[in-house]
């Protein structure tokens, strides 16, 4: 609570209580050189909620997602995941950078799924799933394999554990990638346009896996252009453009009855 009071003094808006939400972003700023990519993002995701992030290309969606697991360092503001400040430790009123070990420990609790899958091509599907649990979590190999089998079955690929990524279709690869992230038992899953690199006929199978995951109570932040998915699955839709949250709320509000001109314009183009 005390860190929050310290933060509250400087800002007009009091951020959401990080202990009650899975993700809290408070006034997040990020620039690359002189170009400001994120210019004050606020966001709160409750446990078990699905938040879909929409917005035009270059709006900073990927950058924001990568800040949540500290793949990118933020310049100003705060991000909490599971009540823990991401990437920094607060000591008194100063922030200390975390060591790589601590950052890695935080990341291991956050699953991430990439647009281009990023499966490890030299490992089979099963090996992709057990690598991190065995070597980061130090789970016994036999247990990790059992779990990998369960997860592959869950994404509909129970019989493809021995296949290399190159032997799988794009949709299958992305489902393995989702299973790989789940193998670390994350409390939060981040998706960066998980279906954008897929042939249209393969999009459905990946969205179905994500739907099931949402139904099982996983907290998810999903950057997507699939408006239908957002409408059906999201608890909250966030429209992000020019590095700020232009509009956010339940899909019925943001998608059906947007208040902002920029949101209306974007939706008219993608729908």
């Amino acid at each position: 609570m005390s860190d929050e009071d310290a933060g509250g003094v400087a800002q007009a808006q009091v951020p959401a209580d990080p202990d009650r939400y899975m993700v809290v972003a408070d006034n997040v700023h990020k620039s690359y050189g002189r170009s400001q990519v994120l210019r004050g993002i606020d966001l709160a995701v409750a446990p078990g909620e699905v938040t879909c992030v929409l917005g035009p290309s270059g709006g900073g969606k990927s950058t924001f997602l990568r800040c949540i697991n500290h793949l990118e360092k933020i310049d100003a503001g705060r991000i909490w995941v599971g009540g823990e400040l991401v990437g920094y430790r607060q000591v008194g009123d100063r922030l200390h950078e975390m060591r790589e070990k601590e950052v890695a420990a935080q990341r291991s609790r956050i699953g991430m799924v990439f647009q281009r899958f990023n499966l490890f091509p030299h490992l089979t599907a099963e090996q992709n799933l057990i690598e991190a649990p065995c070597r980061v979590r130090r789970i016994r190999r036999a247990d990790a394999r059992t779990r990998a089998g369960e997860l592959l079955t869950r994404v509909g690929l129970g019989d493809r554990g021995g296949a290399y990524p190159a032997e799988l279709s794009g949709g299958q690869q992305q489902r393995v990638a989702i299973a790989r992230a789940l193998a670390m038992d994350p409390e939060l899953m981040l998706f960066d346009e998980p279906t954008s690199a897929l042939d249209p006929e393969l999009v459905g199978e990946v969205l179905q896996v994500m739907r099931d995951l949402a139904a099982s109570g996983m907290t998810m932040v999903v950057v997507t252009h699939e408006i239908g998915f957002a409408r059906e699955v999201a608890d909250t839709v966030v429209f992000l453009d020019g590095g700020v949250v232009v509009e956010s709320g339940p899909p019925s509000q943001v998608l059906e009855n947007p208040q902002q001109e920029r949101t209306k314009l974007f939706l008219s183009k993608v729908l």
């Binding site: 609790r109 699953g111 490890f120 980061v136 190159a166 279709s169």
Partner: protein
């Protein structure tokens, strides 16, 4: 195949029987080269300076064969040390720690800039610099004198002459120089791996040493291994340089020594050519298969990774994957 597809009902047309283009230039070249080859053979056979009997007497003599074995030993050891050094240096060079990166840069700068021959002679003469090699705090005697005490912080020492015997000095010169070249090869390999791979590993909570060892380096091998084969062939040839350390039981030294002793300098040089050609030929055959092996399976997998969209549907494209 296409006739099945079109199925237009028309029969397959008669195959083309055209008159091939004539290549008179090729015949001219053949004649010129044949004449030159005949002249060469004539000289080799008639010129007494070749002293063929001398060559045949010595080329498989015991010291020469031992010399060849020494050269092979040197090649293997120098490459093992060089590769290990190269991996360490490449990782340092790409490290976020600027001190490590700068240190690796300096090392590579020095050992790529100084010719191997000079390095060999230099290492052979290090004994002039140090009678003993000692490990301990630097400037201990000077500091001790400053405070008026007899400070001796040498932890242990070895006689430089014993450590830097010809073989060790030559090996170190070759290995340390190779380390610099291998560092560049390994660095290129690491940088050839899609950054998304390291990112995915990081997102899973892997730390840098682990993700390098388990994710990035195995994929970099495809790019690293073929040039390493070339480096090995070059190393085998460069072992002849340690004749100037001098390493007295090495192939080239032995052949020159025999040549000088028997006044049959030229035959022994020809023998050296034959030996090195024979050994590098074996390595080149190995290199050929290495390159074949490491280019295989790369295509479809790489395409799939980069353009997942285009290669999405066909599950059978990348079936020839090595295990």
């Amino acid at each position: 195949m296409s006739s099945d597809v079109t199925g237009s009902g028309r029969g397959r047309p008669e195959p083309i029987r055209a008159v091939p283009v004539r290549h008179p230039g090729r015949w001219v070249a053949v004649v010129v080269l044949a004449v030159l080859a005949a002249m060469f053979v004539h000289m080799v056979v008639t010129n007494k300076a070749f002293q063929w009997p001398m060559l045949f007497d010595n080329i498989l003599s015991v010291p020469v064969v031992r010399g060849a074995v020494t050269s092979i030993e040197l090649t293997i050891l120098a490459m093992i040390i060089g590769i290990a050094l190269g991996v360490v240096l490449a990782v340092m060079r790409l490290s976020p720690n600027p001190i490590l990166a700068a240190a690796a840069w300096m090392y590579i700068w020095f050992f790529r800039g100084v010719p191997r021959l000079v390095l060999c002679v230099l290492f052979g003469n290090l004994g002039i610099l140090y009678s003993r090699l000692e490990f301990g705090l630097p400037f201990d005697h000077q500091l001790g004198a400053l405070f008026g005490i007899d400070l001796n912080a040498r932890l242990f020492g070895v006689n430089a002459v014993t450590l830097l015997s010809g073989f060790t000095a030559g090996l170190l010169a070759l290995a340390m120089s190779e380390g610099a070249y291998m560092a560049e090869v390994v660095r290129g390999g690491i940088q050839s791996v899609d950054p998304g791979q390291a990112e995915a590993a990081q997102a899973l909570g892997m730390r840098r040493p682990l993700l390098l060892r388990r994710i990035v380096l195995p994929q970099a091998l495809r790019v690293i291994v073929p040039p390493t084969g070339n480096e090995t062939i070059a190393m085998l040839k460069d072992t002849s340089l340690v004749a100037y350390v001098p390493v007295t039981n090495e192939l080239f030294f032995q052949l020159q020594h025999i040549g000088a002793r028997t006044y049959a300098i030229f035959p022994m040089l020809v023998a050296a050519c034959i030996w090195y050609l024979a050994m590098t030929s074996v390595l080149m055959i190995g290199q050929h298969f290495l390159e074949k092996r490491f280019s295989r399976g790369h295509g479809p997998r790489a395409i799939r990774l980069r353009g997942a969209r285009s290669a999405g549907a066909g599950g059978a494209v990348g079936t020839e994957v090595d295990t």
